[in-house]
Protein backbone atom coordinates (compact mmCIF):
# COMPACT_ATOMS: atom_id res chain seq x y z
CA UNK A 1 0.00 0.00 0.00
CA UNK A 2 1.39 3.38 -1.01
CA UNK A 3 1.75 5.84 1.83
CA UNK A 4 1.33 9.62 1.64
CA UNK A 5 2.11 12.02 4.43
CA UNK A 6 -0.16 15.05 4.13
CA UNK A 7 0.11 16.21 7.72
CA UNK A 8 0.21 20.00 7.72
CA UNK A 9 -1.17 20.22 4.19
CA UNK A 10 -4.27 22.28 3.56
CA UNK A 11 -6.97 21.43 1.05
CA UNK A 12 -6.79 20.71 -1.78
CA UNK A 13 -3.20 19.44 -1.38
CA UNK A 14 -4.06 16.12 0.34
CA UNK A 15 -6.63 15.44 -2.38
CA UNK A 16 -4.21 16.36 -5.16
CA UNK A 17 -1.49 14.14 -3.66
CA UNK A 18 -3.91 11.26 -3.28
CA UNK A 19 -5.21 11.67 -6.82
CA UNK A 20 -1.69 11.59 -8.26
CA UNK A 21 -0.77 8.53 -6.22
CA UNK A 22 -3.93 6.71 -7.30
CA UNK A 23 -2.80 6.99 -10.91
CA UNK A 24 0.09 4.66 -10.09
CA UNK A 25 -1.07 2.69 -7.07
CA UNK A 26 -4.22 0.64 -6.58
CA UNK A 27 -4.26 1.25 -2.86
CA UNK A 28 -3.03 4.21 -0.88
CA UNK A 29 -3.25 5.49 2.62
CA UNK A 30 -2.80 9.09 3.46
CA UNK A 31 -2.28 10.77 6.81
CA UNK A 32 -3.88 14.18 7.37
CA UNK A 33 -4.25 16.42 10.40
CA UNK A 34 -7.86 17.55 10.11
CA UNK A 35 -11.28 16.03 9.64
CA UNK A 36 -12.31 18.28 6.73
CA UNK A 37 -9.44 16.82 4.68
CA UNK A 38 -10.71 13.30 5.38
CA UNK A 39 -14.13 14.36 4.13
CA UNK A 40 -12.70 15.85 0.96
CA UNK A 41 -10.64 12.68 0.39
CA UNK A 42 -13.76 10.57 0.94
CA UNK A 43 -15.70 12.69 -1.56
CA UNK A 44 -12.98 12.21 -4.13
CA UNK A 45 -12.78 8.45 -3.57
CA UNK A 46 -16.55 8.12 -3.82
CA UNK A 47 -16.55 10.09 -7.06
CA UNK A 48 -13.84 7.81 -8.42
CA UNK A 49 -15.83 4.76 -7.33
CA UNK A 50 -13.16 3.59 -4.90
CA UNK A 51 -13.75 2.18 -1.42
CA UNK A 52 -12.60 4.49 1.32
CA UNK A 53 -12.08 4.10 5.03
CA UNK A 54 -11.18 6.75 7.57
CA UNK A 55 -9.43 6.05 10.86
CA UNK A 56 -9.14 8.70 13.56
CA UNK A 57 -5.99 8.56 15.68
CA UNK A 58 -6.58 11.80 17.52
CA UNK A 59 -8.09 15.22 16.92
CA UNK A 60 -5.07 16.13 14.82
CA UNK A 61 -4.24 12.84 13.17
CA UNK A 62 -6.32 10.84 10.72
CA UNK A 63 -5.60 8.05 8.25
CA UNK A 64 -7.59 7.62 5.09
CA UNK A 65 -7.42 4.36 3.14
CA UNK A 66 -8.42 4.50 -0.49
CA UNK A 67 -8.42 1.71 -3.02
CA UNK A 68 -9.64 -1.69 -4.02
CA UNK A 69 -9.36 -4.85 -1.98
CA UNK A 70 -9.86 -5.90 1.61
CA UNK A 71 -6.50 -4.78 2.84
CA UNK A 72 -7.67 -1.25 3.50
CA UNK A 73 -10.33 -2.59 5.80
CA UNK A 74 -8.00 -5.01 7.46
CA UNK A 75 -5.31 -2.55 8.51
CA UNK A 76 -7.55 0.42 9.20
CA UNK A 77 -8.11 -0.15 12.92
CA UNK A 78 -4.42 0.14 13.79
CA UNK A 79 -3.76 3.09 16.05
CA UNK A 80 -0.06 3.15 15.30
CA UNK A 81 1.32 5.62 12.84
CA UNK A 82 4.59 5.83 10.99
CA UNK A 83 5.98 9.30 11.63
CA UNK A 84 8.84 11.27 10.26
CA UNK A 85 10.25 11.73 13.76
CA UNK A 86 13.01 9.16 13.64
CA UNK A 87 14.62 6.19 11.89
CA UNK A 88 15.81 2.98 13.49
CA UNK A 89 19.14 1.42 12.55
CA UNK A 90 19.85 -2.24 13.31
CA UNK A 91 23.37 -3.31 12.36
CA UNK A 92 23.80 -6.64 14.11
CA UNK A 93 21.90 -9.68 15.35
CA UNK A 94 22.49 -8.62 18.91
CA UNK A 95 21.58 -5.68 21.05
CA UNK A 96 24.61 -4.36 22.87
CA UNK A 97 27.98 -5.97 23.38
CA UNK A 98 28.44 -9.00 25.65
CA UNK A 99 26.79 -12.38 25.58
CA UNK A 100 25.41 -13.15 22.10
CA UNK A 101 22.51 -15.23 23.32
CA UNK A 102 21.38 -12.43 25.61
CA UNK A 103 22.08 -9.87 22.90
CA UNK A 104 19.87 -11.76 20.45
CA UNK A 105 17.05 -12.05 23.00
CA UNK A 106 17.34 -8.35 23.71
CA UNK A 107 17.20 -7.52 20.01
CA UNK A 108 14.04 -9.59 19.61
CA UNK A 109 12.61 -7.70 22.57
CA UNK A 110 13.60 -4.46 20.88
CA UNK A 111 11.77 -5.17 17.62
CA UNK A 112 8.72 -6.39 19.52
CA UNK A 113 8.64 -3.21 21.60
CA UNK A 114 9.29 -1.05 18.56
CA UNK A 115 6.23 -2.47 16.80
CA UNK A 116 4.19 -1.70 19.92
CA UNK A 117 5.13 1.98 20.03
CA UNK A 118 2.46 4.57 19.31
CA UNK A 119 4.94 6.75 17.46
CA UNK A 120 6.65 4.64 14.86
CA UNK A 121 9.75 5.51 12.85
CA UNK A 122 9.59 6.40 9.17
CA UNK A 123 12.17 3.73 8.32
CA UNK A 124 13.99 0.78 9.82
CA UNK A 125 17.42 0.42 8.24
CA UNK A 126 19.10 -2.98 8.38
CA UNK A 127 22.73 -3.48 7.52
CA UNK A 128 25.59 -5.88 8.15
CA UNK A 129 24.34 -8.57 10.59
CA UNK A 130 21.03 -6.69 10.83
CA UNK A 131 19.89 -8.02 7.46
CA UNK A 132 19.36 -11.43 9.05
CA UNK A 133 16.20 -9.97 10.59
CA UNK A 134 14.40 -9.31 7.31
CA UNK A 135 14.96 -12.68 5.62
CA UNK A 136 13.14 -16.01 5.63
CA UNK A 137 13.45 -17.81 8.94
CA UNK A 138 13.90 -14.65 10.97
CA UNK A 139 12.11 -14.75 14.31
CA UNK A 140 11.07 -11.10 14.10
CA UNK A 141 9.33 -11.13 10.71
CA UNK A 142 5.96 -10.69 12.42
CA UNK A 143 7.17 -7.51 14.14
CA UNK A 144 8.63 -6.15 10.92
CA UNK A 145 5.46 -6.99 9.00
CA UNK A 146 3.40 -5.18 11.63
CA UNK A 147 5.62 -2.14 11.13
CA UNK A 148 5.16 -2.29 7.35
CA UNK A 149 1.40 -2.50 7.80
CA UNK A 150 1.54 0.67 9.89
CA UNK A 151 3.41 2.43 7.10
CA UNK A 152 7.02 1.99 8.20
CA UNK A 153 9.49 1.24 5.42
CA UNK A 154 11.93 -1.58 6.15
CA UNK A 155 15.10 -1.16 4.12
CA UNK A 156 17.80 -3.83 3.95
CA UNK A 157 21.30 -3.12 2.67
CA UNK A 158 21.66 -4.84 -0.71
CA UNK A 159 25.42 -5.35 -0.47
CA UNK A 160 24.98 -7.01 2.93
CA UNK A 161 22.25 -9.38 1.71
CA UNK A 162 24.55 -10.32 -1.14
CA UNK A 163 27.52 -10.88 1.16
CA UNK A 164 25.56 -13.27 3.39
CA UNK A 165 23.97 -14.97 0.35
CA UNK A 166 20.51 -13.84 1.50
CA UNK A 167 19.46 -11.73 -1.52
CA UNK A 168 16.90 -14.30 -2.66
CA UNK A 169 15.58 -14.78 0.87
CA UNK A 170 14.43 -11.23 1.61
CA UNK A 171 11.01 -11.64 3.21
CA UNK A 172 9.98 -8.14 4.23
CA UNK A 173 10.62 -4.62 2.99
CA UNK A 174 12.83 -3.40 0.19
CA UNK A 175 16.50 -3.42 -0.75
CA UNK A 176 18.40 -0.17 -0.46
CA UNK A 177 21.89 1.20 -1.01
CA UNK A 178 24.43 3.19 0.94
CA UNK A 179 23.39 6.56 -0.52
CA UNK A 180 19.86 6.14 0.75
CA UNK A 181 21.10 4.90 4.11
CA UNK A 182 23.37 7.92 4.54
CA UNK A 183 20.63 10.27 3.38
CA UNK A 184 18.05 8.89 5.80
CA UNK A 185 20.47 8.80 8.73
CA UNK A 186 21.63 12.36 8.10
CA UNK A 187 18.10 13.70 7.89
CA UNK A 188 16.56 12.00 10.90
CA UNK A 189 17.05 11.39 14.54
CA UNK A 190 18.60 7.90 14.58
CA UNK A 191 17.59 5.29 17.16
CA UNK A 192 19.73 2.17 17.59
CA UNK A 193 19.07 -0.92 19.70
Amino acid sequence: MFKIDAMGDVCPLPVIKARKALKEHAQIFITVDNEISTQNLSKMATQLGLPVEVGKESATSYRVYIGAGDKAVEVAPSARVATDDYVVVINAQTMGVGDDQLGYALLKGFTYSLAEQDTLPSHVLLYNGGVHLSVEGSEVLDDLNALVTAGVEILSCGACLDFYGLTEKLAVGEVTNMYRIVELMSQHHVVRP
Binding site: V10, C11, P12, V15, I16, I36, S37, N40, M44
Partner: protein, 340 residues
Protein backbone atom coordinates in the same frame (compact mmCIF):
# COMPACT_ATOMS: atom_id res chain seq x y z
CA UNK B 1 7.81 31.90 -4.59
CA UNK B 2 9.80 35.10 -4.31
CA UNK B 3 10.35 36.99 -1.07
CA UNK B 4 7.91 39.60 -2.21
CA UNK B 5 5.11 37.07 -2.49
CA UNK B 6 2.52 36.42 0.16
CA UNK B 7 1.87 33.03 1.62
CA UNK B 8 -1.52 31.97 0.41
CA UNK B 9 -4.02 30.90 2.98
CA UNK B 10 -7.42 31.14 1.65
CA UNK B 11 -9.26 34.48 1.67
CA UNK B 12 -12.82 33.74 2.67
CA UNK B 13 -11.87 30.09 2.72
CA UNK B 14 -10.12 30.93 6.02
CA UNK B 15 -13.38 31.90 7.73
CA UNK B 16 -14.61 30.00 10.72
CA UNK B 17 -17.38 27.62 9.63
CA UNK B 18 -20.97 28.88 9.95
CA UNK B 19 -22.05 26.09 12.29
CA UNK B 20 -19.28 26.75 14.80
CA UNK B 21 -19.92 30.45 14.72
CA UNK B 22 -23.68 30.52 15.23
CA UNK B 23 -23.30 28.26 18.29
CA UNK B 24 -21.02 30.85 19.87
CA UNK B 25 -23.10 33.82 18.85
CA UNK B 26 -26.27 32.28 20.23
CA UNK B 27 -24.64 32.21 23.65
CA UNK B 28 -23.78 35.90 23.68
CA UNK B 29 -26.16 38.27 25.43
CA UNK B 30 -28.31 40.02 22.84
CA UNK B 31 -28.38 43.78 23.03
CA UNK B 32 -31.86 45.17 23.12
CA UNK B 33 -31.63 48.66 21.78
CA UNK B 34 -34.21 50.34 19.63
CA UNK B 35 -31.50 52.17 17.75
CA UNK B 36 -29.84 48.94 16.61
CA UNK B 37 -31.75 48.13 13.45
CA UNK B 38 -29.58 45.23 12.29
CA UNK B 39 -27.23 43.25 14.50
CA UNK B 40 -25.73 39.81 14.54
CA UNK B 41 -28.96 38.18 15.70
CA UNK B 42 -30.05 38.23 12.07
CA UNK B 43 -26.77 36.66 10.92
CA UNK B 44 -25.83 39.87 9.18
CA UNK B 45 -22.18 40.83 9.25
CA UNK B 46 -22.82 44.55 9.42
CA UNK B 47 -24.49 46.57 12.14
CA UNK B 48 -26.96 49.31 11.37
CA UNK B 49 -27.66 51.92 14.04
CA UNK B 50 -30.36 54.53 13.62
CA UNK B 51 -29.12 58.07 14.19
CA UNK B 52 -32.15 60.07 13.14
CA UNK B 53 -35.43 59.52 11.38
CA UNK B 54 -33.84 59.49 7.95
CA UNK B 55 -30.28 58.43 8.71
CA UNK B 56 -28.73 55.21 9.96
CA UNK B 57 -25.06 54.33 10.38
CA UNK B 58 -23.74 51.12 8.76
CA UNK B 59 -20.65 49.64 10.39
CA UNK B 60 -18.78 46.66 9.06
CA UNK B 61 -15.43 45.03 9.39
CA UNK B 62 -13.83 42.29 7.35
CA UNK B 63 -10.30 41.03 6.92
CA UNK B 64 -8.54 37.80 6.01
CA UNK B 65 -5.26 36.20 4.99
CA UNK B 66 -4.10 36.34 1.38
CA UNK B 67 -5.72 34.24 -1.31
CA UNK B 68 -3.35 35.49 -4.03
CA UNK B 69 0.42 35.86 -3.75
CA UNK B 70 0.60 39.35 -5.30
CA UNK B 71 0.29 41.84 -2.39
CA UNK B 72 -1.16 44.63 -4.56
CA UNK B 73 -3.94 42.38 -5.85
CA UNK B 74 -4.57 41.07 -2.36
CA UNK B 75 -5.02 44.65 -1.12
CA UNK B 76 -7.55 45.40 -3.84
CA UNK B 77 -9.51 42.19 -3.27
CA UNK B 78 -9.60 42.46 0.53
CA UNK B 79 -10.80 46.07 0.28
CA UNK B 80 -13.47 45.28 -2.32
CA UNK B 81 -14.65 42.43 -0.09
CA UNK B 82 -14.90 44.62 3.03
CA UNK B 83 -16.66 47.46 1.20
CA UNK B 84 -19.17 44.98 -0.17
CA UNK B 85 -20.85 44.53 3.22
CA UNK B 86 -22.10 48.12 3.08
CA UNK B 87 -23.36 47.73 -0.49
CA UNK B 88 -25.18 44.53 0.50
CA UNK B 89 -27.13 46.58 3.07
CA UNK B 90 -28.22 49.07 0.46
CA UNK B 91 -25.91 51.65 1.99
CA UNK B 92 -23.35 54.13 0.74
CA UNK B 93 -19.77 54.02 1.98
CA UNK B 94 -18.40 57.08 3.77
CA UNK B 95 -15.04 56.18 5.24
CA UNK B 96 -12.76 53.24 5.89
CA UNK B 97 -9.91 52.31 8.23
CA UNK B 98 -7.21 49.77 7.46
CA UNK B 99 -6.77 46.63 9.59
CA UNK B 100 -3.35 45.10 9.11
CA UNK B 101 -1.51 42.09 10.48
CA UNK B 102 2.01 41.81 9.17
CA UNK B 103 5.04 39.63 10.04
CA UNK B 104 7.76 41.57 11.84
CA UNK B 105 10.58 40.12 9.74
CA UNK B 106 8.99 40.66 6.33
CA UNK B 107 9.83 43.42 3.86
CA UNK B 108 7.66 46.44 4.58
CA UNK B 109 7.52 47.12 0.84
CA UNK B 110 5.07 44.19 0.65
CA UNK B 111 2.80 45.91 3.14
CA UNK B 112 3.11 49.08 1.08
CA UNK B 113 1.76 47.20 -1.94
CA UNK B 114 -1.15 45.75 0.02
CA UNK B 115 -2.10 49.19 1.32
CA UNK B 116 -1.74 50.74 -2.14
CA UNK B 117 -4.18 48.20 -3.59
CA UNK B 118 -6.61 48.78 -0.71
CA UNK B 119 -6.39 52.57 -0.97
CA UNK B 120 -7.13 52.45 -4.71
CA UNK B 121 -10.31 50.48 -4.11
CA UNK B 122 -11.46 52.77 -1.30
CA UNK B 123 -10.90 55.74 -3.63
CA UNK B 124 -12.80 53.99 -6.42
CA UNK B 125 -15.67 53.48 -3.98
CA UNK B 126 -15.67 57.20 -3.28
CA UNK B 127 -14.93 56.73 0.42
CA UNK B 128 -12.34 58.42 2.62
CA UNK B 129 -9.47 56.26 3.85
CA UNK B 130 -8.76 57.63 7.28
CA UNK B 131 -5.91 55.64 8.79
CA UNK B 132 -6.07 52.32 10.59
CA UNK B 133 -4.25 49.93 12.87
CA UNK B 134 -1.46 47.45 12.28
CA UNK B 135 -0.03 44.74 14.48
CA UNK B 136 2.71 42.15 14.06
CA UNK B 137 1.47 38.67 13.36
CA UNK B 138 2.95 35.48 11.92
CA UNK B 139 0.87 35.79 8.79
CA UNK B 140 -0.16 38.81 6.75
CA UNK B 141 -3.83 39.71 6.94
CA UNK B 142 -5.61 42.74 5.61
CA UNK B 143 -9.03 44.26 5.50
CA UNK B 144 -11.09 47.32 6.27
CA UNK B 145 -13.44 48.62 8.86
CA UNK B 146 -15.99 50.50 6.81
CA UNK B 147 -18.51 53.12 7.84
CA UNK B 148 -21.47 53.86 5.64
CA UNK B 149 -24.91 55.36 5.77
CA UNK B 150 -28.36 54.20 4.78
CA UNK B 151 -31.91 55.45 5.05
CA UNK B 152 -33.51 53.45 7.89
CA UNK B 153 -36.53 52.65 5.73
CA UNK B 154 -34.42 51.45 2.83
CA UNK B 155 -32.16 48.91 4.48
CA UNK B 156 -31.82 45.64 2.56
CA UNK B 157 -32.21 42.91 5.17
CA UNK B 158 -30.35 39.75 4.28
CA UNK B 159 -33.16 37.49 5.50
CA UNK B 160 -36.41 38.94 4.23
CA UNK B 161 -37.25 37.49 0.79
CA UNK B 162 -40.89 37.00 -0.18
CA UNK B 163 -42.61 33.97 -1.62
CA UNK B 164 -42.50 34.14 -5.42
CA UNK B 165 -39.45 36.45 -5.56
CA UNK B 166 -36.82 36.00 -8.23
CA UNK B 167 -33.20 35.52 -7.24
CA UNK B 168 -30.57 37.51 -9.10
CA UNK B 169 -26.87 36.88 -8.62
CA UNK B 170 -24.11 39.22 -9.76
CA UNK B 171 -20.61 37.88 -10.47
CA UNK B 172 -19.84 34.26 -11.33
CA UNK B 173 -19.06 31.45 -8.85
CA UNK B 174 -15.81 29.58 -8.41
CA UNK B 175 -13.16 32.04 -7.15
CA UNK B 176 -12.32 29.75 -4.22
CA UNK B 177 -11.64 26.76 -6.46
CA UNK B 178 -9.78 28.81 -9.08
CA UNK B 179 -7.48 30.67 -6.67
CA UNK B 180 -6.75 27.52 -4.67
CA UNK B 181 -6.13 25.49 -7.80
CA UNK B 182 -3.89 28.23 -9.17
CA UNK B 183 -1.87 28.37 -5.95
CA UNK B 184 -1.00 24.68 -6.29
CA UNK B 185 -0.20 25.01 -10.01
CA UNK B 186 -3.23 23.10 -11.24
CA UNK B 187 -5.14 25.99 -12.81
CA UNK B 188 -3.77 28.28 -15.51
CA UNK B 189 -3.03 31.99 -15.65
CA UNK B 190 -6.01 32.88 -17.82
CA UNK B 191 -8.64 31.47 -15.48
CA UNK B 192 -6.85 33.01 -12.52
CA UNK B 193 -6.79 36.48 -14.09
CA UNK B 194 -10.55 36.29 -14.66
CA UNK B 195 -11.11 35.25 -11.05
CA UNK B 196 -8.97 38.12 -9.78
CA UNK B 197 -10.86 40.60 -11.97
CA UNK B 198 -14.11 39.30 -10.49
CA UNK B 199 -12.85 39.56 -6.90
CA UNK B 200 -11.49 43.08 -7.18
CA UNK B 201 -14.65 44.40 -8.79
CA UNK B 202 -16.69 46.54 -6.41
CA UNK B 203 -20.34 45.70 -5.85
CA UNK B 204 -20.99 49.43 -6.01
CA UNK B 205 -22.60 49.67 -9.44
CA UNK B 206 -24.79 46.61 -8.85
CA UNK B 207 -26.05 48.13 -5.60
CA UNK B 208 -26.65 51.53 -7.18
CA UNK B 209 -28.71 49.98 -9.97
CA UNK B 210 -30.68 47.88 -7.47
CA UNK B 211 -31.62 50.96 -5.44
CA UNK B 212 -33.83 52.07 -8.28
CA UNK B 213 -35.84 48.83 -7.95
CA UNK B 214 -37.71 47.02 -5.18
CA UNK B 215 -35.31 44.79 -3.28
CA UNK B 216 -36.89 42.52 -0.67
CA UNK B 217 -33.63 41.06 0.46
CA UNK B 218 -29.95 41.20 -0.41
CA UNK B 219 -26.75 39.58 0.77
CA UNK B 220 -23.22 39.38 -0.54
CA UNK B 221 -22.03 35.90 -1.40
CA UNK B 222 -18.77 35.27 0.45
CA UNK B 223 -17.32 32.64 2.76
CA UNK B 224 -20.40 30.47 3.18
CA UNK B 225 -20.78 30.04 -0.57
CA UNK B 226 -23.90 30.66 -2.66
CA UNK B 227 -25.92 27.99 -0.87
CA UNK B 228 -24.78 29.05 2.60
CA UNK B 229 -25.74 32.67 2.09
CA UNK B 230 -28.99 31.72 0.37
CA UNK B 231 -29.83 29.49 3.32
CA UNK B 232 -29.28 32.44 5.67
CA UNK B 233 -31.55 34.53 3.48
CA UNK B 234 -34.33 31.92 3.61
CA UNK B 235 -34.08 32.08 7.39
CA UNK B 236 -35.88 28.77 7.97
CA UNK B 237 -39.13 30.25 6.69
CA UNK B 238 -39.06 29.76 2.94
CA UNK B 239 -37.44 27.56 0.30
CA UNK B 240 -35.70 28.32 -2.98
CA UNK B 241 -35.51 26.48 -6.27
CA UNK B 242 -32.40 27.15 -8.28
CA UNK B 243 -31.82 26.42 -11.94
CA UNK B 244 -28.29 25.22 -12.43
CA UNK B 245 -28.11 26.20 -16.11
CA UNK B 246 -28.52 29.85 -15.20
CA UNK B 247 -25.85 29.93 -12.52
CA UNK B 248 -22.77 31.68 -13.87
CA UNK B 249 -19.43 29.99 -13.33
CA UNK B 250 -15.93 31.37 -13.83
CA UNK B 251 -13.82 29.78 -16.58
CA UNK B 252 -11.70 26.94 -15.21
CA UNK B 253 -13.77 26.56 -12.05
CA UNK B 254 -15.95 23.68 -13.21
CA UNK B 255 -13.00 21.71 -14.58
CA UNK B 256 -11.09 22.47 -11.38
CA UNK B 257 -13.89 21.06 -9.27
CA UNK B 258 -13.94 18.01 -11.52
CA UNK B 259 -10.25 17.53 -10.78
CA UNK B 260 -11.04 17.75 -7.06
CA UNK B 261 -9.35 21.11 -6.47
CA UNK B 262 -11.77 21.43 -3.62
CA UNK B 263 -11.35 23.55 -0.54
CA UNK B 264 -11.74 22.98 3.17
CA UNK B 265 -14.16 25.91 3.35
CA UNK B 266 -16.37 24.31 0.72
CA UNK B 267 -16.57 21.11 2.74
CA UNK B 268 -17.34 23.02 5.94
CA UNK B 269 -20.19 24.72 4.09
CA UNK B 270 -21.41 21.37 2.81
CA UNK B 271 -21.39 19.96 6.32
CA UNK B 272 -23.27 22.98 7.63
CA UNK B 273 -26.03 22.59 5.06
CA UNK B 274 -26.34 18.82 5.40
CA UNK B 275 -29.97 17.84 5.01
CA UNK B 276 -31.06 21.26 3.78
CA UNK B 277 -30.05 21.06 0.13
CA UNK B 278 -31.06 18.57 -2.53
CA UNK B 279 -29.67 18.27 -6.03
CA UNK B 280 -32.07 16.70 -8.50
CA UNK B 281 -29.19 15.81 -10.82
CA UNK B 282 -25.85 14.10 -10.44
CA UNK B 283 -23.00 16.53 -10.95
CA UNK B 284 -20.42 16.51 -8.20
CA UNK B 285 -18.36 19.36 -9.67
CA UNK B 286 -21.35 21.67 -9.79
CA UNK B 287 -22.26 20.84 -6.23
CA UNK B 288 -18.78 21.88 -5.17
CA UNK B 289 -19.16 25.23 -6.95
CA UNK B 290 -22.37 25.96 -5.11
CA UNK B 291 -20.63 25.35 -1.76
CA UNK B 292 -17.39 27.07 -2.80
CA UNK B 293 -16.42 29.97 -0.50
CA UNK B 294 -16.36 33.18 -2.53
CA UNK B 295 -13.86 35.85 -1.63
CA UNK B 296 -15.41 39.19 -2.57
CA UNK B 297 -18.31 37.49 -4.34
CA UNK B 298 -21.31 39.11 -5.93
CA UNK B 299 -24.63 40.28 -4.52
CA UNK B 300 -27.63 38.00 -4.29
CA UNK B 301 -30.89 39.92 -4.66
CA UNK B 302 -34.41 38.74 -3.98
CA UNK B 303 -36.69 40.89 -6.12
CA UNK B 304 -40.36 40.78 -7.14
CA UNK B 305 -40.99 39.02 -10.44
CA UNK B 306 -42.71 42.06 -11.94
CA UNK B 307 -39.46 44.03 -11.85
CA UNK B 308 -37.11 41.20 -12.85
CA UNK B 309 -36.76 41.96 -16.54
CA UNK B 310 -36.18 45.67 -16.10
CA UNK B 311 -33.72 45.01 -13.28
CA UNK B 312 -31.68 42.56 -15.37
CA UNK B 313 -31.72 44.93 -18.35
CA UNK B 314 -30.54 47.83 -16.24
CA UNK B 315 -27.74 45.78 -14.70
CA UNK B 316 -26.62 44.75 -18.16
CA UNK B 317 -26.71 48.34 -19.38
CA UNK B 318 -24.34 49.23 -16.52
CA UNK B 319 -21.95 46.38 -17.40
CA UNK B 320 -22.80 44.29 -14.33
CA UNK B 321 -22.76 40.55 -14.98
CA UNK B 322 -25.99 39.27 -13.47
CA UNK B 323 -28.15 36.17 -13.79
CA UNK B 324 -31.64 35.12 -12.80
CA UNK B 325 -30.77 31.93 -10.95
CA UNK B 326 -33.99 30.79 -9.29
CA UNK B 327 -37.11 31.56 -7.28
CA UNK B 328 -38.26 31.81 -3.72
CA UNK B 329 -41.07 29.35 -2.90
CA UNK B 330 -43.09 28.43 0.15
CA UNK B 331 -41.35 26.16 2.64
CA UNK B 332 -40.65 22.71 1.24
CA UNK B 333 -39.06 19.57 2.66
CA UNK B 334 -35.69 20.84 1.52
CA UNK B 335 -34.69 24.44 2.04
CA UNK B 336 -32.89 24.62 -1.30
CA UNK B 337 -33.67 22.54 -4.36
CA UNK B 338 -31.17 22.69 -7.19
CA UNK B 339 -32.59 21.58 -10.54
CA UNK B 340 -30.78 21.07 -13.80
Amino acid sequence: MSKKDLIICGGCNAKIGPGNLSKLLNNLPKQQNEQLLVGFDSSDDAAVVQLSEDLALVQTLDFFPAMVSDPYLFGKIAAANALSDVYAMGGEVISALNIVCFPEQDDLAILGEILRGGAEKVAEAGAILAGGHSIHDAQAKYGLSVTGKVHPKRIWQNNAPQNGDCLVLTKALGVGIVTTGYSVGEIGEEAFTKAVASMEMLNKTAAEVAKTFTVHSCTDVTGFGLLGHLSEMLNGKLSAELNVKNIPVLPGAYDGAKEFLITAGGQRNRNHLAGKVTFTFDDFAFEELMFDPQTSGGLLFSVPEAELEAFLADLEKNAVTASFIGRITGKQAFEIIVND
